[in-house]
Symmetry: C2
Subunit: 156 residues, 2 copies
DNA sequence: ATAACTGCAAATCATTTGCAGATTC
DNA sequence: GAATCTGCAAATGATTTGCAGTTAT
């Protein structure tokens, strides 16, 4: 698992494995949440009655991102969150409901064609692709339809 | 132009057109930069020897985004920047250099196919597509290559 | 006239930093 | 034992807020 990846990366960098670094990594391994902010990691560690400081969480999470174990994402609310890289391998594509906010991962073939043609057009060497579709999920489409029927009269 | 859009939107909302709101809008209209942070808008107004407070810039820029004149973007450095919506209409596709941060708009055909196939797969009704490619722009590729050659000896 | 807006300064909130003491290799 | 960590508390920097005075309608 990532423990070992971390250990060997740390050795390469002449850095050390510590209890706190394990705790932060474990927080990500143990949670169902897709992403965690530093604040959330901090709380998860405290919940287990283990000690860590916020500053250390910030430093550790940043380290794990440098090492490639976590991916750093700046969310629309401006808060930085992290996710385990392996969890989302090849799932950079998300479809998000504008109504209920639920996000679903899904994968599309054809992405590679797209990437190639973008590289040709721009001369870039592409390292990461992010595709987000925003729209209405099936449930919200139905719900909104029902509401529209019910409120039919009171509209402009 | 956007002046009029703003005026009528404000009327609808029972809000007022003010000198400061014009100034902020003008800052976006007059600049070559693709995006401006509140701080940058603030400076641009001051440069013209006109008075505005930072708080007002923050409030105004947020208002313009609500109204749909500006698009709010949270950058990787955590700073919120805004861009004129019309500038990027139909150009949701951006390619961004991980090194120098320059972003380029460009368009790809094939997007519609992609969209269709995503709708079929998920049952969503898609309203917006955002595609971001991250990588190295041609200049940075060159520069990095040059640096690598120059520093060849001192490496692991 | 009066509701909406602005400027100011103080407050907030996430994140960063300096440093002294604790820990890992 | 020495370099690397951690915790703490103070600093920072972007953004927000309360409020008294100003301005647009």
């Amino acid at each position: 698992m990532q423990q070992d990846v971390l250990r060997s990366e740390l050795r390469r960098r002449k850095q050390r494995m510590t209890a706190q670094r394990e705790l932060v990594l474990k927080a990500f391994a143990d949670t169902d949440a897709e992403h965690l902010s530093s604040e959330e990691v901090y709380r998860k560690v405290l919940e287990k009655r283990l000690r860590i400081s916020k500053a250390t969480v910030f430093r550790t999470v940043e380290l794990l991102a440098e090492v490639g174990i976590l991916r750093k994402i700046v969310f629309r609310d401006g808060i930085v969150r992290y996710e385990l890289v392996e969890d989302t391998e090849n799932e950079e594509q998300q479809i998000i409901c504008n109504q209920c906010g639920k996000a679903f991962d899904f994968s599309l073939d054809k992405i590679n064609d797209l990437l190639k043609s973008a590289e040709e057009k721009t001369g870039f060497k592409i390292e990461e692709v992010q595709i987000k579709f925003y729209g209405l999920c099936p449930e919200c489409q139905e719900r909104l339809e029902r509401i529209r029927k019910a409120t039919n009269s009171a509209h402009i």
